[in-house]
């Protein structure tokens, strides 16, 4: 999936797949926080321009 995104011109870092067990609460929080920080760093998606950005309003 990441390779296909890169080929289409979308930063592959915007996608992450992680397996977290239901017993791993702290790990889940850690994984999600990390991801949110990473996405913040990347800024708005390059797809949110023109029509889609207007619709999203």
């Amino acid at each position: 999936m990441k390779q296909l995104l890169a080929f289409s011109g979308i930063e592959p870092e915007r996608l992450e797949l992680k397996w977290v067990s239901s017993a791993e609460g702290p790990r889940f929080a850690h994984v999600v926080t990390d991801f949110v920080e990473r996405i913040r760093g990347l800024g708005p998606s390059p797809l949110r321009t023109g029509a889609s950005a207007r619709k999203a309003g």
Binding site: L4, F7, S8, G9, P46
Partner: protein, 273 residues
Amino acid sequence: MIDQVRDHVKGLLDDGKIVAFVGLKDQGGNVSPHVYTNSDDLNNGFSLGDLNTPGDARYPLARIAMTAVSQDEKGAVGVLVRGCDERALYELLRWNQLDAERIVKVGIACPAELAQAHECRKPFPDEYVAGEKTDPVANASVDEIMGKDLLGRLDYWKTEFDKCIKCYGCRDVCPVCFCNVCTLEEDSLIRTGDIPPENPMFHLTRAVHMAGRCIDCNLCTEVCPAEIPLRTLYKKVAEIVKDEFEYVTGEPGDRKSPLNILGPDPGHTAAND
């Protein structure tokens, strides 16, 4: 050359080895797929895509053969195969869409110009009745895109996908699109009312569904009225599947496609049969 093929097919029909032959028919200058059911039929408009040689009129004959097989209870069906049709047959077999014993291939090798025009990876089937074997053509289109930077690629694909009129031609002509229900028509997954369809979701979704399936025949790109280079996208997907799973589509053997691992084994219709 065409006589060679015609005589071969006549022999198969007359000997009762096949009940029908899926091939091409020239009808007043238009070449279209046709199911021949007796050898007299073959005297009328039998075509290889061009007047006497394998020409550029191509159709998803493998999938038409799949339908023809389902129309008859147990007889075998002959089918005109080029390199691409054969790859489609191999892939349909691996996806349990066909019974190998009910297909009789009649191979023709494609001329070099045709192979060149379609960047064909194998312009001839394993066995062929007519035609000359020509060299495979190397893949260049994927490298061209990979040469761009991320933004360049996004611009390129967004512009291409914006041309889409959502005719579903790419899906309908695809020899390996056999699903009864299609994600592309599922409103909860992709908005169905928009033209161009959701960009890039529509085309990326189709690309993912081509993983471990696309046999690189180029029919989708050939039929696309908006001339979107879809096949380049699917070629990349095939490259990823090959790198990650060492799976190459359109080859003989019963190895299951990596995206079909939960399905029944080849030759079975259900997991527990």
